[in-house]
């Protein structure tokens, strides 16, 4: 006689099976390869797309599209910005095999979504036909493995914002090179002001400078990733700011656009900031700043590197579980390359620099009353877009890379150097790649 299975045993088996099932479900995130499945044909009837984004009032832009396209209605849903909760929501939705058709994802975060098979390769839906209308540098940053994983939505070409009066006090013009910048910073220190701050806790700014200097930290190869954070281009920037911090030419006491920064800028203790085009809106928040600020080209690294660089920038990406990638792509390209799309994105959402070099947006043309009558967008940022490092590639671990860098940078405060910090960070980043199951090697210097 076989022993009957007791209730307890049965419960145990059931529990075990449930555990195994749930573990199997969690174990391999992103194992459903959306880009290996057949493409989804355009829908026959009316479809409704959802777009998760942290842009305020985005629905007003979508409504303009909706009025003209009765068969493709777009509903926008606000999510918290980037790492403040938005990405967490998106990753959770993807893990649950759901989520919106479209989502706002920063350029630098796209590869992390590709890593979980979360994005539709839009080249399979004809995205390449639109490539010519976008800034080639940005298009390169959404292209991986021959695919296109997001439609550039905005970016942040960098310029030099400065307070005219403070520079005039020491009889200076905006610096053309970083060496001029250091000399000017010295002059201003004698006048008890700083030229700029250098945030140890936000390495995205250091990264932007290194990019300008000609660095391309990550490259893709057939056998995986290669990394080069200790090449001349990066070391030039690290040595420069090591020196600037040591000589007290920059302050590390606060970050750009923190309360302390605003107070220093308003009190004439901070003369300039090298930042992206979207900083104009933030500088307008400095009390009594109207008519005091101007914008010039970013200082250059002598004859090396590029004229400008980029900070920030995001895409409209189509998520893996979208049933209407074709329609989502149509909306995304309309929004980012049409005159009315760009104009209304600027008007309602205060979006960054247009990804479409031919259309900078009506409200960004002509002289600005705030910036002393200067047509700064046309004078500085439109040309800056054409002088950016075209080779830069974001890796799948940007957030971790930045955290590793800032942890290392903080040691600057206790006597470390940026040069050492970057070198140590490179090793830690390689370890992090391997812990993700990815292959990475040190780039060979030729």
């Amino acid at each position: 006689m076989t022993a009957p299975v007791s209730r307890r045993q049965l419960l145990g088996y059931g529990l075990g099976a449930a555990v195994m099932a749930s573990i199997a479900g969690c174990a391999s995130p992103g194992s459903t390869a959306v880009n290996a499945a057949p493409t989804i044909p355009p829908a026959g009837g009316k479809v409704t797309l959802t777009y998760w984004s942290w842009l305020k009032n985005l629905q007003k832009v979508a409504d303009i599209w909706n009025a003209k396209n009765p068969n493709v209605q777009v509903e926008t849903v606000w999510i918290p910005a980037s790492n403040d909760g938005g990405y967490q929501k998106l990753f959770s939705a993807l893990a649950a095999h759901s989520g919106p058709d479209l989502a706002q994802i920063e350029m630098r975060k796209l590869p992390a979504f590709i890593l979980v098979n979360g994005l539709v390769d839009l080249s399979r839906y004809g995205a390449d036909d639109h490539a010519g209308r976008y800034d080639p540098t940005l298009w390169n940053q959404v292209s991986y493995n021959g695919g296109v994983f997001g439609i550039p939505q905005d970016s942040g070409p960098v310029g030099f914002f400065y307070q005219d009066e403070l520079l005039e006090q020491v009889g200076a013009e905006p610096p053309e090179t970083w060496d001029d910048w250091a000399a000017l910073a010295g002059e201003l220190r004698r006048a008890k002001a700083y030229l700029d701050c250098f945030p140890l806790s936000d390495p995205s700014i250091f990264t932007a400078y290194a990019t300008q200097s000609g660095a391309t930290w990550l490259k893709t190869h057939d056998d995986g990733w290669s990394i080069d954070m200790t090449g001349d281009a990066t070391m030039r920037v690290a040595r420069f700011f090591d020196n600037a911090i040591k000589k007290d030419l920059v302050t590390t006491a606060y970050e750009p656009f923190s309360p302390a920064w605003f107070s220093a800028a308003a009190n004439g203790k901070l003369a300039s900031i090298t930042s992206a085009s979207w900083a104009d809106a933030l500088i307008k928040g400095v009390s009594g700043a109207k008519g005091k600020w101007r914008v010039a080209d970013m200082p250059r690294w002598g004859n090396a590197g590029y004229g400008s660089t980029y900070m920030g920038g995001s895409t409209a990406a189509v998520l893996a579980n979208s049933q209407h990638p074709h329609e989502a792509l149509q909306f995304a390209t309309w929004m980012t390359t049409s005159q009315e799309g760009i104009n209304t994105l600027i008007e309602h959402c205060g979006i960054g620099w247009s990804p479409c070099p031919d259309i900078i947006g009506e409200s960004r043309k002509g002289p600005s009353e705030f910036f002393s009558g200067q047509s700064y967008n046309e004078e500085v940022f439109a040309p800056a877009v054409k002088q950016q490092n075209p080779d830069w590639t974001w890796g799948p671990l940007t957030q971790q890379t930045f955290n590793i860098l800032s942890d290392q940078f903080r040691k600057q405060a206790s006597g470390g150097t940026l040069v050492d910090a970057v070198a140590r960070a490179e090793g830690e980043i390689m370890t992090a790649f391997r812990q993700k199951g990815l292959s990475i090697r040190k780039a060979d210097h030729s």
Partner: protein, 294 residues
């Protein structure tokens, strides 16, 4: 009839058990399973294949080799060693004072001390940050007038600024548990003590303290576990203090690993280690107090 009765408790408990299994036991087992798994990817993003494999203790080794994670546990041990005794002392003193015969308006004060517990940790931290952030804080301004430069958010002080918020929130809660135990002390004991000529101090020291020991042990264990799980306060305060990094507390570290880096397996290993640490510390404390009572 008897058979019927035999199943009744199970039927009545079924809704609870189902939810308990589904939302508590299963996630724990899934986390433990996940902590022994790793993923290997072929190609730049795994487009040429993703393999999940049994990792033995690799994720645990990774967590234990992570200086930031170990430092966060050390930081919480230091926090617990200082904050928990201070809070327990405060809660005990307040409870005994409110239960003493000479207390005025004990009901009002009991409610007042308990009130902070009703305020969620996130809100409490935002409220307190108005007293911590330079430029907003009247305390910092007032100290500056008399020439003292205060920095509540610096690398060496921010931990104690968090301890202050936690103490403010939970002292009243612990006080309530102790008061409940004080109320269960039979009146005859007090009468007997008075007849024997015991002073107020002696009553507190010789009668009340020994009899509220179980409540003290219980609340201390809760506090130790709570310390290991500190999350909301440093998370919210990190927006005003650069001294709080992404691995400031063990839970913040696991959160960052899971939701900023998407490394769920490594985060699961960290979570299991946090649970183990809380278990060991609570158990050590219980052993310590049991030995004393023998």
């Amino acid at each position: 009839m008897t058979k019927h009765l035999k199943y009744t408790p199970w039927v009545l408990m079924a809704p609870f058990l189902a939810l308990f299994l589904l939302t508590f036991i299963l996630p724990i087992l899934a986390a433990v399973g996940s902590s022994f798994t790793k993923v290997r990817r072929e190609g730049l993003f795994g487009e040429e294949g993703i393999v999940s494999e049994f990792a033995w203790f690799e994720n645990y080794a990774q967590a234990l080799a992570d200086g930031g994670f170990i430092a966060s546990i050390g930081r919480m041990v230091l926090f617990g060693l200082v904050q928990v005794p201070v809070m327990m002392l405060l809660a005990t003193v307040l409870a005994i004072l409110l239960e003493s015969a000479s207390a005025r308006w004990p009901g009002f004060f009991r409610a007042a001390y308990f009130l902070p517990y009703g305020i969620p940790g996130v809100i409490a931290t935002i409220l307190w940050s108005f007293l911590y952030v330079p430029g907003l804080s009247p305390i910092i301004d007032a100290a500056a007038v008399v020439g003292i430069e205060l920095n509540f958010l610096g690398p060496s002080t921010v931990l104690w600024s968090i301890a202050n918020i936690v103490t403010w929130t939970y002292t009243g809660y612990n006080m309530m548990i102790i008061i409940a135990q004080l109320k269960s002390i039979p009146g005859e004991l007090y009468e007997a003590a008075r007849v024997d000529g015991a002073s107020g101090w002696q009553v507190a020291w010789k009668i009340q303290l020994p009899l509220i020991r179980p409540a003290l042990v219980l609340t201390t264990v809760f506090s130790i576990i709570g310390t290991m799980q500190l999350f909301a306060e440093p998370q919210v305060l990190s927006t005003s203090s650069t001294a709080i990094d992404s691995q400031y507390t063990p839970n913040l570290s696991a959160y960052t690993t899971a939701f900023a880096y998407n490394a769920y397996n490594a985060a699961a290993a960290q979570a299991v280690l946090i649970a183990l640490a809380a278990f060991i510390l609570s158990f050590a404390f219980l052993r310590l107090t049991n030995r004393k009572s023998v």
